[in-house]
Amino acid sequence: MTAQAELELETETMTVREAIRQGLREELERDEDVYLMGEDVGLFGGVLEVTGGLYEEFGGERVRDTPISEAGFMGAATGAAATGTRPVVELMFSDFMGVSMEQIMNQMAKMHYMFGGKAELPVTVRTTEGGGMGAASQHSGTVHTWIAHFPGLKAVAPGTAASAKGLTKAAIRSDDPVFVFENKMIYEQSGQVPTDEDFTVPIGKAAVEREGEDVTVVATQRLVGESLGVADSLEGDVSVEVIDPRSLYPLDTDTIVESVEKTGRLVVADESPLSYGTHAEIIARVQEEAFFSLDAPIMRVGTPDTHMPFSPPLEQEVLPGDDDVKAAIQRIS
């Protein structure tokens, strides 16, 4: 579905949390082979309440509480996906990926390729990322770069309620393993969300959330909304275009390059650690294809290579936000 078609659909205002839940509900209704599994996704409704009510609606076979056993259920989801069902795993915090990394990197990511394409793995992994709630270093990480970097996996990261629903549904319908990275600080953020049951956001398609002429900001997750706020605050001074890539791998390079060819300036804002990461990949692709359109150095906004500290003043110090985006825009415009 194109961005234009998205605009023409009937919408309702809802939060990111409600949008994801609606997407899950619609896919559970649409396809009996789809089921949810994870720690406390059922009776408890999910630790961040995303799956609330689905257990009551669909029952414990389709909304399955697992033991606290990330390696076990990540591996089982891979085996189940290879043998005819479509599990949707919730990994409570993306920091727990370390516990299940073997099943992700050596099984889920590699099976389709190692078997010469003969195993399909329609598995979705939803997980939460991000600092900002005082959850400290082991519950606040932004690790999507690992998955986007690792061959054989797709990674999406919504920044709006509409894309949260549309990407969730696209991930579940995909026959490839897809990770959906939900920033936990935007669950309460509201937006217009298409209610059409066939609305999906294609994996690999960016959204131009705001048009502008002077600077392109490629922002992800929480930083999409914050960058839109900055763009509004700079109106009349600097004309800022804001792009949410929505999908990190595959990445819609064309939309980003087209924008930079117009503006000549780029800021990349993503909460992951700055070194060797998501920012670097986006910047590398832009310089490969739009080097001669650049009028200024490319800026990046992210976490300055620290873990997320607990104490609120420390967390605020390292957490990238609208002030950092604004400063980056102003340095190059």
């Binding site: 989801a77 290879a82 069902t85 073997e102 050596n106 389709h112 190692m114 797709k154």
Partner: protein, 348 residues
């Protein structure tokens, strides 16, 4: 029951045939590896044939198995064709995985073979997952996860069995205790006499059987299968066996002596089963010799097939990463050099 049913004379003949095929396949794979024809590593199953064939004798053809790094025997026991297996070992396009997997990753998902696996202990979670699909869709199959004695120490094995037990999934965990985890004896890796005692922790049956006796293995797995199909959950079967060759081909085996190997060979699974069939009047030594010759020529044909088969085109390296190929890979594929590599040229 399948054509491997040990309760029928034909089934017993077929079981013998598969054990002999495994041994001949692996002997030849070892030779060709030593000659440098087969790249990578190979881990041979010689000596353990009764475990794989005994297990598959208790299964239906659409049941699943998830294998280990020592997977050739499981493949043949499950009915895979030595010709395409050998082509895979040679890295040829006609192999089961189009040459992308090799010895450690042979798979044929359509035949219920969910892959050999280069990670010790990775088969059980896969089997639990297949059992989850079976249970979720109310199907009639079961899923077997093979693991070695070394893998019993792996955390993911515990998690997989716990999940299968908690959800009463139709899974069977077959521990092939060949007494060495790579080069370290089992008693230096576990503080247990019988590895099947670990089953108690999950409140599932755990039995230890003579893994050199195909009948003992098949009976234990058949009971486990009945239990799984009745909705009573998983079973652990530990089969005590022995590998005659090293952990991998080229292993100098400083951890054991020839006397030990000879003692185990006295219980050879093929010899003992053959002797039983002769005693029952179902086989003569002459017929067995003919069977061996016939299988030798089957394996020779497989070698010839693999040698003559084509390597994959270099561009195949970019295929089968995903069902829905992303533009990134399409781009790399487009710029692939015909001599096999996208590096050094235009990239992204």
């Amino acid at each position: 029951m399948t054509e491997l049913d040990l309760d029928s004379a034909d089934g017993r003949q077929e079981a013998l045939r598969r054990m002999v095929t495994i041994r001949a396949f692996d002997q030849e794979a070892g030779n060709r590896f030593a000659d440098g024809e087969i790249p990578g590593f190979v881990h041979l199953y010689i000596g353990e044939e009764a475990v794989g064939v005994g297990t598959c004798a208790a299964l239906e053809s659409d049941d699943y198995i998830a294998s280990t790094h020592r997977g050739h025997g499981h493949c043949i026991a499950k009915g895979l064709d030595p010709k395409y297996m050998m082509a895979e070992l040679y890295g040829k396009a006609e192999g089961y995985c189009n040459g992308k997997g090799g010895s450690m990753h042979i798979a044929d998902v359509d035949a219920g073979m969910l892959g050999a696996n280069g990670i010790v202990g990775a088969g059980p979670p896969m089997a639990t997952g297949a059992a989850l699909s079976i249970d979720y869709q109310d199907r009639d199959e079961v899923a077997v996860g093979f693991l070695g004695d070394g893998a019993v120490a792996q955390g993911q094995v515990h998690e997989a069995i716990n999940l299968a037990s908690t959800w009463d999934l139709p899974a069977i965990f077959v521990v092939e205790n060949n007494h060495y985890g790579e080069g370290t004896p089992v008693e230096k890796q576990h503080n247990l006499d019988n590895l099947s005692d670990t089953a108690q922790a999950y409140d599932i049956p755990g039995v230890t059987v003579d893994g050199m006796d195909i009948t003992a293995v098949a009976e234990a797995v058949a009971e486990a299968r009945d239990r799984a199909r009745a909705g009573d959950g998983p079973t652990m079967v530990e089969a005590q066996t022995y590998r005659y060759r090293g952990h991998y081909e080229g292993d100098e085996e400083p951890y054991r002596d020839d006397d030990e190997i000879e003692r185990w060979k006295e219980q050879d699974p093929i010899e003992s089963f053959k002797d039983r069939l002769i005693e029952r009047g179902e086989l003569t030594q002459e017929e067995f010799d003919d069977l061996e010759s016939e299988i030798e020529s089957t394996i020779d044909d497989a070698i010839e097939y693999a040698q003559a088969a084509d390597y994959p085109e270099p561009s195949a390296a970019y295929e089968d990463m995903f069902v829905d190929q992303p533009p990134e890979l399409q781009h790399f594929a487009n710029v692939a050099r015909t001599d096999g590599g996208a590096n050094g040229g235009d990239h992204r």
